[in-house]
């Protein structure tokens, strides 16, 4: 991935904005110099104030590598944050920001890496996993995947309709939703925080133990979920984590 990481800052234009949930909005960027990327990679975004002050943050790419030149970032608004409220409250179609990418060479999956694959996401931590799920669908890959996605409530399940649509295909992709502040809506879902029993059952949906497990979300979520995977018998070597902070 080191060649990719050489990419310098460039400008990108916001070409589309799509509200995903009450707190998450997708921003579609058209980079001035389009680049190839792997599912799971992120970009850095840089904002500059008139006096030269700059803020930069990382955002995972939600789109599949096959999606074309436009890059989707799904950004959750943190009320007291600096960059995410700018996107939610100020940024609009036609605006330019600086962007650098693709970045990150560890938390990546390509359909040629095979599986089975266990994906565990909390809140906006589902974003890089979504890129993997979309990549699998675009490649018509037969790799078995279980995605355990924890959200507070049904309406905060980012990409909900798309994920349920993929689950309904019964082609080896299994969606396991768990809501921490509402009852489950589907028979296959849960209404509690991720735990060992849930991981054991999610693994049970795969034809064989996962060859790779990806866990992404807040610090606390990743710590808890990775420990639950280990307690469910997954070897630490197959678990890759990405922490969004806070």
């Amino acid at each position: 991935m080191s060649e990719a990481a050489q990419s310098p800052w460039q400008t990108a234009i916001i070409s589309r904005v799509e509200k995903r949930t009450p707190r998450v909005t997708s921003f579609f960027f058209q980079p001035s110099r389009p680049f190839a990327y792997l599912a799971g990679q992120h970009v850095d975004v840089r904002l500059t104030a008139p006096d030269g002050y700059q803020a930069r943050r990382s955002y995972s790419i939600a789109s599949a590598p096959e999606a074309g030149e436009t890059i989707e970032l799904a950004i959750e608004k943190l009320e007291d944050g600096e960059v995410s409220p700018f996107f939610h409250d100020v940024a609009a179609v036609g605006d330019e920001v600086e962007l650098r990418g693709p970045l990150g060479g560890h938390f990546v999956w390509s359909s040629s890496d095979e599986g089975p694959l266990l994906l565990v996401g909390g809140g906006s931590g589902v974003v890089p996993l979504m890129s993997m799920v979309r990549h699998r669908a675009a490649r018509k890959s037969a790799v078995a995947v279980a995605l355990v996605f924890s959200a507070r409530i049904w309406d905060e399940v980012i990409f909900r309709d798309e994920l349920i649509g993929l689950d309904d295909r019964k082609d080896g992709f299994n969606l396991v939703l768990t809501l921490t502040r509402e009852p489950a809506r589907r028979p296959s879902d849960y209404a509690r925080r991720v735990d060992v029993a849930m991981m054991v059952q999610a693994i049970g949906r795969l034809p064989a133990p996962p060859r790779l497990a990806f866990v992404c979300g807040s610090n606390a979520f990743v710590s808890a979920a990775a420990q639950a995977l280990i307690d469910a018998g997954i070897a630490p070597e197959v678990i890759r984590t990405e922490r969004y902070g806070v």
């Binding site: 500059t48 104030a49 008139p50 100020v90 920001v97 970045l103 060479g105 630490p236 070597e237």
Partner: protein, 202 residues
């Protein structure tokens, strides 16, 4: 390029000279790692100094804790853009480890190794003459597993991924060999003041 409508939050501060470019001041202590948190018990811990494949000396937890303890209170800078001021550590200076092994650094390059297979490279001169330690305490207490306990490297003047958690040894190498993140797009040296985040940054 000025971003339309962006003013930034930056609280008025006298600290700007202490914050490297592109960093923001963090009050908490975020945790970052490539995999699950290894739980290394002190009884199972050991530290090995190597020259290439050859072990020079190995210490167990008690032996290592018997080495001279030094204090270091430093600002730390994570490549994910947070900077934290005045983090107080105690541990064994790399100088004191070398002295106990009775050696001068045999090569110009060092790889730090961790229990979970992580590694990171640091030029030897960035580890010696008081610049770096193997930290055992944070804020006077044992370092928690999340932050790399029981022992982590502390190289405060470089981006914090160089301060390998769950440290299990230092290895002198003939060449500058990239470690885990350096093979995955991160800068070979990692000076926060020159913003050396990714491969081929200046």
């Amino acid at each position: 390029m000025v971003t339309r409508g962006f003013s930034g939050r930056r609280p008025p501060t006298d600290n700007d000279a202490r914050i490297p470019p592109g960093q923001y001041l963090e009050q908490g202590f975020p945790v970052l790692s490539a995999g699950p948190t290894p739980r290394v018990r002190a009884e199972d811990w050991s530290f090995t100094l190597k020259h290439g494949p050859r072990p020079i000396k190995k210490w167990n937890w008690a032996e290592f804790n018997a080495l001279p303890l030094s204090k270091m209170t430093r600002d730390i800078h994570c490549v994910t853009a947070w900077t934290k001021f005045d983090t107080p550590w105690q541990g064994v200076l790399v100088d004191d480890i070398l002295a106990d092994a009775g050696i001068e650094p045999p090569t110009d390059f060092t790889l730090a190794h961790s229990f979970d297979g992580y590694s990171t490279n640091v030029p030897t001169k960035d580890l010696t003459i008081g610049k770096a330690m193997v930290a055992l305490l944070y804020e006077g207490k044992p370092i928690t597993a999340d932050h790399g306990g029981p022992a982590r490297l502390l190289v405060p003047h470089l981006y914090f991924w160089k301060s390998a958690k769950w440290l299990t040894g230092l290895q002198f190498t003939a060449r500058d060999e990239p470690g885990f993140w350096e093979l995955r797009g991160y800068h070979i040296y990692g000076d926060p003041w020159r913003e050396q985040r990714y491969t081929n940054d200046p």
